[in-house]
Structure formats: C-alpha cells, structure tokens
C-alpha cells in the first residue's frame, strides 16, 4: 500500500476503511448479512411494520420490530468507531457525512416545526448524539447518496482536508416510500428480486443502516489501526439522459467505473468481483450490463458479478453503503456473494453471475456500483489493505 498511488484526478494520500457497522433485515452486524449474501438466502417476507393491505405488493426485507432511524444511526456510528479503535477525542474531531432521504419526522411535523426537521439538522443531531464533531452534512441523492458521500469523503481525505470522516447512511422501510414505489409499479410482483435474470419483475425495499470510518492511510498507520480495506478509487458521473431511466448504452456508469479504476491505478483484469447495483428491474439491469461491457471490455464476460440486493433488498439512500460493507467483507473472506433469485439467462445481461455458493476469489480488488434517478452513477473500488 503506497501513500501516492496515483495523483491523477485525486489527492496524493491513500484512503482506507478502518471500521464498519451495519443493521439489515438479516440482523445486527456484518456477519449475518455476509452469511446470507454468501449463501444467497433472501430476507424478503410480508411487511408487518405498517399496513400494506392496499398495495399491489406486500413484501420487503425488514428487521424485526420498528427500529428508530436516529437511534440506529447513532448505534452504527458508535460501532464503526469502536471497530476503528477511535478514542473519544478522535471521534470529536470527525465530520459526519450522512446519507438519508431526510428527517423521517418531517412530513408529519406540525407546520411551525417543519424548519427544524431539515436533512442538515437531522445530520447534525445524529453527529452530536454519536459524539462526533457536529460538522456534518446530509446527502439526499437517492440511491447514490451514500456512495457519493463515500467518494466525497475519500476525495477530501486524499487531498488532506481531513484525516478521517465517518460516513453513515440509513433507510428503514416505511409506509410513504413503500407507497410511492408500489404506485410506480417498481416492486417485484413475485416477491423476489432477480437481478440480471430472465423473468425479473422489479425491486423490493429493504432495511439498511450502515456506517464506515474512512481514514487517511498514514493517519491509520500512525495510530496502529488495521484497515479493513483500501478505498482505492471512486467515480461519479451523470447520464444526462432521463429523469428516472438509465442510459440504455450504459455510457454514464461506464465513465464512473473507468474513473474509479483510473484513480485506483488498476486495470479491469485486477477486478475479482463486482457487487452490481442490480435492482432486478428489467431496463436498469440491461443498462448496467452494457456499462460493464463498455468499461471492462473482454473482462466483463468473466468477472464474477452479483447484486446483493437479491438478499437484503433495496435500501435506497443507504443501499450503496450497505453494499460497500458487504463487498469489503466478501473480499476479506475470499468468497463471493450469490446472485439470488436467478431463474435463467437473459441475453441482454451477458455477465458471469455468481450462482454457486462455494464461489471463491483470490483477487485483491472489487467494485461496488450504484445508480439512481436523475441518471446519477457511482463506482467505488475497494482493495485488500
């Protein structure tokens, strides 16, 4: 690991992840989530948290009970900082980049109280409760909110603007977003998410609360912290194509992938796994497959690909961070998450999908991809430290 991997379009410092924590439908912690992803066991079940009797689809991947977002974010930030070995004083110096849809209380707050429920105020409150500095910011860019936050944290740290930044994200399945996704006919009618598969019918929502400590490699080394992963590269681009549909040729996402590889100084042959955005939506998966072929060339046909959304669901603003944590854990385990829900090949998605529970990798780099409404694309490149 070098401190000057490439100065091309990035700052000179290497960036690592030194702590991670997660809550998902599979439970608290990375291990139950990783186990389910490696075994390809989906967590979808009828929603009990709120009334879905008037909806076309009644399934999601939810943690038992009704967890409270602010409390779960505080817990995740604390656990990630604990794993990173940060002292109270070191936490006090940490900014928080928080990816959320907004303050969950905003839409039902009384009119006079609404100004106090901004996403920025919510991020400030989470930072204070978690013992961070309070110099927080909120990202609300839908399904790329948390990956954009990670990319921005990495860029700032690479330039020396900060030694460490906590990135957190949270979405807990609730009635309002469930209603709009149901109304938009985006939810999978058959109750399963089947990324890149024939017969796929859409996405399903899932709980996700996650936090990571992003840190300058020299700063981590100075305090003898053991990195979980190298945050080797990042890319973010726009399609300039449509309000909510991706470019069919995948050109925008391909540029994000290329940027991430360039910043990491690695070629497509070094990528041993891609955790794809893979929503299970017909148009989106086809465009993503096109992007992978455009960016990775011949390697796109052989690099193992899966979408862990097929297990934990679509966690919206938190999805990309949840998937980054899974990707890092899989790389460390040397095993590959299964693309669950697979029924058969789709000619428009010619990818080497991970369908075997025993799939292993000795590769040292993996990509985690995300796309969002508005044509927003991100690619995060992680490596073994």
């Amino acid at each position: 690991m070098t401190d000057t991997p490439s100065t091309a379009r990035r700052g000179p410092r290497s960036v690592v992840v030194t702590g991670a924590a997660v809550l998902s439908a599979l439970g608290r912690g990375v291990q139950p989530l990783l186990s389910a992803a490696l075994d390809g066991v989906p967590a979808f079940a009828p929603v009990q948290r709120f009334d879905v009797s008037g909806r076309r689809v009644d399934r999601a991947a939810t943690h038992p009970g009704s967890p409270v977002l602010a409390e779960e974010l505080e817990r995740a930030v604390g656990e990630a900082c604990d794993e990173a070995g940060l002292s109270t004083a070191q936490r006090t110096d940490c900014p928080l980049y928080l990816a959320v849809h907004g303050d969950p209380a905003l839409a039902r707050a009384s009119v006079p109280d609404r100004p106090a429920h901004g996403a920025d105020a919510f991020a400030d409150a989470v930072a204070r409760r978690a013992g961070l500095s309070g110099t927080s910011r909120a990202y609300t860019s839908a399904c790329v909110a948390s990956s954009t936050a990670v990319a921005d944290a990495a860029a700032a740290i690479a330039h020396g603007h900060a030694d460490r930044i906590v990135v957190a994200a949270g979405y807990l399945v609730e009635a309002d977003q469930f209603a709009v996704f149901d109304a938009g006919r985006a939810l999978a009618r058959d109750g399963q998410v089947r990324p890149f598969s024939s017969g796929r019918t859409g996405l399903l929502l899932g709980d996700g609360v996650a936090a990571v400590v992003v840190e300058a490699a020299p700063a981590a080394r100075a305090r003898r912290a053991r990195p979980l992963a190298l945050l080797a590269g990042w890319g973010r681009t726009g399609d300039a194509y449509h309000v909510c549909r991706p470019r069919p040729d995948g050109a925008g996402l391909a540029r994000a992938i290329t940027d991430a590889l360039h910043r990491g100084g690695v070629g497509p042959d070094r990528i041993g796994y891609v955790n794809a955005h893979g929503t299970g939506t017909p148009v989106s998966d086809t465009a993503e497959a096109a992007a992978l072929h455009r960016a990775l060339g011949d390697h796109a046909a052989t690099v193992p690909v899966s979408s862990t959304k097929s297990v934990h669901g679509q966690a919206l603003e938190a999805g990309a961070l949840l998937e980054l944590v899974v990707t890092i854990a899989a790389l460390r385990a040397g095993r590959l998450p299964v693309n669950a829900g697979y029924l058969g090949p789709d000619e428009s998605c010619a990818l080497n999908l991970v369908l075997d529970r025993t799939a292993r990798t000795a590769s040292d780099h993996a990509l985690s991809l995300s796309t969002a409404f508005g044509g927003a694309n991100t690619a995060l490149l992680v490596g073994t430290p």
Binding site: R9, G118, D120, A142, D176, V243, G374, G375
Partner: protein, 193 residues
C-alpha cells in the same frame, strides 16, 4: 450554523465567492413581481396540485444557464441544495398514506430531488455528477472538490427552499460555478444556512 440563508442569488454568489469558486452566472426566483408560479415540467405531476419544488429548480436553473457567458464545457455537474427537499410533495404523500389513499404513480420518481436534477441534466446535456445535499456549505464544498479533481469542468448549483408556513413564498437561487484562481481555493468553512 449562521442565521443567514443564501436563497437569493446574491447570497449564493457571495457564499460561492467566499469558497474560492468563480461565479459564471446566477439567477433567482422570484426575480420580478411576475414570478408567481414557475412553469410546469412535462412529465411531472401538475405542480399547483402537489408541489412546486421541481418547477422552481428547473426554471431557476434555466435562467442561470441562459446567462452563461461562455460556451458550455464538456462536463457540468448538477448540485442541488435543499434542507427540506420536496416538502410539499412529502406532505402530500404522507397525507395520502395516512388517509388510506393511493398516491399518483408519477410521485414514484418525484419523491427524490434527483428527479429534477436528472431533468435538467438531460435538458441541458449536463453529464457531470448529480449530487443532492442538505445545506449550502456542503454544496459548495462538494462543488470545489469535483472541480479540483476534474470530475466536472463547471457545476450548476441550485438551492430550493419551499415555503413551510402559509403566506410565505417559495424561493430558489442558482449559480453556475467554475474553479477559482489557485490562490483563492480553500476548504470552505464560511457562511452556512
């Protein structure tokens, strides 16, 4: 946080300049007494019945981009700042859900600020990153890094503040930003709404 909220173009221009960014063009809403209702956007729910968030962003951005003093560079980012997001849209969905109703299908994509950012990107061929954040200081810091790392040649930064109490007016401002001279670039810690 300070008490100053730069929702007028002049405030956003000052904040961007303080962040070491070059302001190429700016616009606001309202700019004149005639600015009562922003023009609707094709494909979005009729704004008067649900929310003016997206039309406000689109019209303010349009004015700003039309004032561009130089040809459009290859890559322009879209950075949308809104502490409360599409407040009116969120309240509409919540009231519909609580009343046992069904929300309109177009609200599926309008529920996130990315939607109008994507509309702008497609309309004006802005191929840079699309980023939505909750406060102006964050928007300017994001912009500064995108420009410094050449993820974009320019950035269109839009701030939208819907009225949250009856009788108040919606406001929006937009600035088109380029990198400032090297000596003026700094890590922005100044004015924040």
């Amino acid at each position: 946080m300070t008490a100053t909220v730069p929702t007028r173009a002049s405030g956003l221009t000052r904040a961007a300049s303080a962040a070491g960014l070059r302001v190429l063009a700016s616009a606001g809403w309202p700019e004149a007494a005639e600015d009562q209702v922003a023009p609707p956007i094709a494909g979005f729910v009729v704004s008067a019945f649900v929310s003016a968030f997206s039309p406000l962003a689109a019209e303010t951005a349009r004015r700003c981009l039309l004032r561009r003093p130089s040809p459009q560079p290859p890559v322009t980012a879209v950075v949308l700042v809104s502490p409360l997001g599409d407040l009116a849209g969120a309240v509409h969905v919540a009231e519909t859900v609580d009343g046992g109703g069904r929300v309109g299908p177009l609200l599926f994509f309008q529920a996130v600020p990315n939607a109008v950012a994507g509309h702008l990107a497609a309309r004006w061929q802005l191929t840079g990153p699309v980023v939505c954040v909750g406060d102006t200081a964050a928007g300017l810091a994001v912009t500064a890094l995108l420009l410094a790392d050449r993820d974009a040649d320019e950035a269109l930064l839009i701030r939208v503040d819907q009225a949250h109490t009856p009788g108040r007016h919606d406001r929006a401002a937009a600035v088109l930003l380029g990198p400032g001279p090297p000596q003026s670039r700094q890590h922005y810690k100044g004015e924040q709404p």
